[in-house]
Amino acid sequence: MSQPSLTLYKGTLDILILRTVSQGPMHGYEINRRISEASQNEFQVEEGVLYPALRRLENKGWLRAEWRETGTGREARVYELTAAGQETLAEQMGTWERYVRAMAMVLRPKEASS
């Protein structure tokens, strides 16, 4: 962690969590780790932000939780994407990709047009 990690913009956390959980049921700790790994430590989600966010997504009906045993025989609250969550994820990913493309077009016009 030589460079400070990126600040998460509002709204980006939800899609990161949903995308991560879409790979299979996992608990909060694992979600956190995977986000860091996948972003090569550019995104570091603090626990104080992650856990309330999980509960919020659960309230919205995008995640479903269950207590399950982990590989080491420990109980953890495991999250899973619901059908509604899948829909939302697909929708938001589409939006994000357009967003990123548009940003790129504006920031580096030549590369984008070629």
């Binding site: 608990h27 909060g28 700790y29 694992e30 603090e46 626990e47 104080g48 856990y51 309330p52 509960r55 919020r56 659960e58 309230n59 939780a65 269950e66 207590w67 982990t70 080491t72 420990r74 109980e75 953890a76 609250r77």
Partner: protein, 901 residues
């Protein structure tokens, strides 16, 4: 989803975490798991367990904050879910109710109609009650306003002030920041050459400013307006400006002819303001400085004895309590008593909070009594409607029992079903409330057109404002709860297992019991209302029979006010003499007489003191206030009042100020019981001593028919001219044929003079009975409605019972019972219920008689005609209601009956 299907309940709202962990536990464990997982990983990476644990906790940061944030997110979610759940349930219940009510339109229509009659009647009565007794006028800080009255021990309770008294009280600046006086007066206002008699008010200059009423246009009054000789100005009411001047914005500065004098219009009152007194709606207000122009024919308006200032309203100075102001008033009276012990011996000044008496307290008693009785009647009607609809609901519940049982069986929970049934009832009640409000609006509009049989500027206005709508909403909800309580609980309490197994229920006897109680209640309420109607009708009948003491047939009556028309005394005399001559010259007119007080108009005459001079009265004897009337020589023959002793007035007494008086029988009995008063001499308050009693006239009902006789006297018009005249014309034949004659003769003499109350005397008597007649009509209507509802209720429960007993009746018929025996079997069942209702109704009816007696005429504590009529009508209707299903039972074919179910 079908209406029968079970539904997941949303009511609990909280979605329990797996294994029913509480929110706290769930969050704590999740955080704990996080720490444990991290610790494990660190240990795997070579940390010592203790260090790993410490490192994990440290990396997590402030665990307590995380927990708190998680918990609050979960709780917010729970709340949200609960709300959505409720909204969804409500939506579902409403849809279900709508569908269910649409499926049985007959039931829905009947229930809504029955309830709307009850609710509408209550809303209408409330709107009057609200307008006359509750609503505060739109003035600033009404809670600081008080009414001020002079009160005489054993005498007038709410008297008037004279100007000197007003000024003495207004000077109490320490307790009163304002003392406002207002006096309602009839005015002659001219429009396009025609004069019209309308009610206005003379007010002190601080009327608008002191009440805090800001004119819609122009200005109110200021201190110079109260000074004699100031310019004549007036402020018009908003309604008058709108109706008569088309809300002309250029009105200010124009003149209006009032009592034949020009008044400049300087202001228009705000639209929402009618007056500080409930029920009084003057067309205009004019200041104290114009009192002589506004009340012509009075030359001593400023004397201490001239108590004409009818309404006094004070604004308490900041921080002053009513008791302090009362003490200041007591101080004023104490000082006056010292200076003028004769005048102020028995007098006090009394303060009354305006909030408690927006309606003038003199009227308040009568109105609240009448409205109170009316409210009892409409309240009972509503209760009866509730009982009736509850009966309908129970019958309906029986029909839907299977549907509800299936829903129970499919797992619907009890609370849901109760809520659904309640929703259905509330929808019914609210529909009925809306319909009732429409009906109440119509009723209020109709009632507004009914003339008040008194020369009083009282307007009945029951506007359907937001308060009334709120009241209706509230009472509809309450109604819905009341009528649905029994049936709903009954349905929900049922044991699931009773019904599905076989078609023949165990629990029905119980429900029939409830329905019988409801029917008995309806009978009782109907009996009470029938008795009430009977009492009022009986009282009206008595009033019609009562002899008013004068000959009402072949007589015309009318009134003119020559003072308002600007006639001087001599002009007035000439006018009246000419009119009399011209009328007497017409064939068929036998007598013409003038008085001052219009008879049978709700008000008695003016009052003054009377004392025989030759009788030694005890020193503490209080002179009775005796009503007097100024009459001419033609009065007694034209009005048809017999002179029982002595003689009437002669024509010469019309012109000369002779000290003669004719007394009535009551006054004669008071001072000369058993003796002959003719030739005796008396002192009279308005005339002084030396009045010779020349005749005794028969007692007549002067204010209203059926009133108890009061001491009264007649003074000759020659003694004191007054331009306010009642005209009596006796005709040889049908007086209606002479109405136009009288109108034309007056019009020939003065085309602009307004003639009011021109009627044949029998019509005047009828008009005076209008309140009694309206009460009789209203109560009879409610009683008939009650009777109808109760009859339907009885029929419903008996018919239902017969259907239930088909098998038993079949058995009886099969083993040889005759049709008559079956008839008796069914009738007995019905009559027991009805009998209980009748008994309760009779007891309540007797209590009601007590409550109503003071409003009735010639009705005893036990009014047999009313009781008998009520019982007879109800029994007839009830027997009919029982007989129809009983006859059907008696005609049953036993074989078919046994095969049923």
């Amino acid at each position: 989803m079908t209406p029968l299907g079970p539904r997941r309940t949303h009511l609990s709202g909280r979605r329990p975490d797996v294994r029913d962990l509480s929110v706290e536990e769930s969050v704590d464990r999740e955080i704990e798991a996080h720490i444990a997982l991290l610790t494990e990983e660190l240990i795997a990476a070579g940390w010592s367990p203790d260090e790993a644990r410490a490192e994990a906790e440290q990396r997590l940061g402030d665990a307590e904050t995380i927990r708190r944030d998680c918990r609050s997110v979960v709780r917010a979610g729970d709340r949200q879910r609960r709300l959505t759940g409720l909204a969804m349930d409500l939506q579902h219940d409403l849809r279900y109710a709508g569908r269910s009510l649409r499926r049985s339109p007959g039931f829905t229509l009947a229930a809504v109609l029955i309830l709307s009659l009850g609710i509408g009647a209550n809303s209408a009565v409330f709107s009057f009650f609200n307008n006359l007794l509750l609503e505060l006028p739109p003035v600033s800080e009404p809670e600081r306003l008080v009414r001020l009255f002079p009160r005489w021990e054993d005498g007038i309770q709410f008297g008037n002030l004279s100007p000197p008294e007003y000024h003495e009280l207004a000077a109490q600046a320490a307790v009163f920041s304002e003392l406002i006086s207002e006096t309602p007066i009839p005015l002659s206002v001219s429009f396009g050459g025609r004069n019209e008699r309308l009610w206005g008010a003379v007010v002190t200059y601080n009327y608008f400013s002191g009440l805090g009423v800001i004119p819609h246009l122009g200005r109110g009054f200021s201190a110079p307006d109260d000074v004699e000789g100031s310019a004549a100005v007036a402020v018009l009411s908003h309604g008058f400006w709108r109706d008569r001047f088309g809300a002309d914005p250029e009105i200010l500065g124009r003149t209006l002819s009032i009592n034949s004098r020009p008044f400049e219009i300087v202001g228009i009152a705000p639209p929402e303001y009618r007056d500080a007194n409930a029920g009084f709606e003057p067309v205009l207000w004019a200041p104290f400085g114009q009192r002589y122009a506004l009340m012509p024919g009075n030359s001593y308006l400023d004397a201490r004895g001239q108590r004409w200032m009818a309404i006094a309203i004070a604004r308490l100075a900041p921080g002053v309590r009513l008791e302090q102001a009362q003490a200041a008033c007591d101080g004023v009276i104490a000082q006056l008593r010292e200076e003028m012990p004769e005048v102020y011996r028995d007098q006090r000044f009394v303060l009354l909070s305006l909030v408690d008496s927006t309606l003038h307290p003199e009227l308040r008693g009568t109105f609240s009594m009448g409205l109170g009785i009316l409210w009892i009647v409409v309240g009972l009607t509503l209760l009866l409607a509730c009982a009736n609809v509850a009966g309908l609901l129970l019958a309906r519940a029986a029909a839907r029992q299977r549907e509800i049982d299936i829903r129970f069986a499919l797992g619907a929970d009890r609370g849901r079903i109760v809520r659904q049934l309640l929703t259905e009832s509330l929808v019914l009640a609210l529909l009925a409330g809306a319909l009732g409000l429409l009906g109440a609006g119509m009723l209020c509009r109709i009632l507004r057109w009914i003339p008040v049989p008194a020369d009083l500027p009282i307007t009945f206005r029951g506007p359907l404002d937001s308060t009334v709508v709120l009241f209706t909403l509230g009472i509809s909800f309450l109604t819905g709860l009341i009528f649905s309580l029994t049936p709903t609980l009954h349905t929900a309490r049922r044991n699931l297992m009773t019904n599905l197994t076989n078609g023949f229920p165990v629990g029905r006897r119980g429900r029939l019991g409830v329905r019988r109680v409801l029917v008995a209640g309806q009978v009782a309420l109907a009996v009470v209302l029938l008795i009430g109607a009977g009492l009022v009708v009986h009282s009206l009948y008595n009033l019609r029979q009562v002899d008013p003491g004068f000959e009402a047939r072949n007589q015309l009556v009318a009134a003119v006010d020559l003072d308002l028309q600007g006639y001087e005394r001599d002009e007035g005399r000439v006018f009246l003499n000419t009119l009399r001559e011209r009328l007497l010259a017409r064939p068929g007119i036998e007598a013409v007489g003038y008085g001052q007080v219009l008879p049978l108009y709700g008000l008695g005459g003016h009052r003054t003191g009377f004392r025989p001079e030759a009788i030694d009265l005890p020193p503490d004897f209080r002179n009775p206030a005796v009503e007097f009337n100024l009459v001419d020589s033609g009065y007694f023959s034209a009005f048809g009042i017999p002179i029982v002793r002595g003689r009437g007035f002669e024509q010469f007494e019309d012109e000369q100020p002779l000290r003669r008086v004719i007394i009535n029988q009551s006054l004669a009995r008071l001072f000369w019981p058993g003796a002959d008063p003719i030739g005796e001499s008396a002192w009279i308050g308005i005339g002084g001593s030396g009045f010779e009693v020349i005749g005794v006239a028969r007692d007549v009902a002067y204010a209203r028919p059926g009133e108890s006789a009061r001491p009264g006297m007649y003074l000759p018009r020659g003694l004191h001219y007054i331009g306010e005249v009642s005209l009596h014309v006796r005709t040889a034949s049908d007086p209606a044929a002479y109405l136009s004659t009288v109108q034309n003769e007056i019009g020939d003499l003065d085309p602009t003079l307004p003639v009011y109350n021109l009627r044949v005397m029998t019509e005047q008597v009828r008009q005076a009975l209008l309140p009694a007649r309206l009460a009789a009509i209203a109560l009879s209507a409610f009683a008939l409605l009650a009777l109808l509802l109760a009859t339907i209720g009885i029929y419903g429960v008996i018919a239902y019972w017969v259907r239930q007993q088909t098998r038993e009746i079949g058995v009886r018929l099969a083993i040889g019972a005759t049709a008559t025996e079956v008839l008796r079997f069914v009738l007995k069942r019905g009559l027991v219920t009805i009998g209980i209702g009748l008994g309760i109704g009779l007891i309540l009816g007797l209590l009601m008689t007590q409550a109503m007696r003071s409003l009735l005429y010639g009705v005893g504590a036990v009014d047999l005609p009313a009781l008998a009529a009520a019982l007879l009508v109800l029994l007839t209707a009830a027997l009919l209601a029982c007989y129809l299903p009983a006859r059907r039972a008696a005609r049953l074919n036993p074989v078919a009956a046994l095969r049923v179910e």
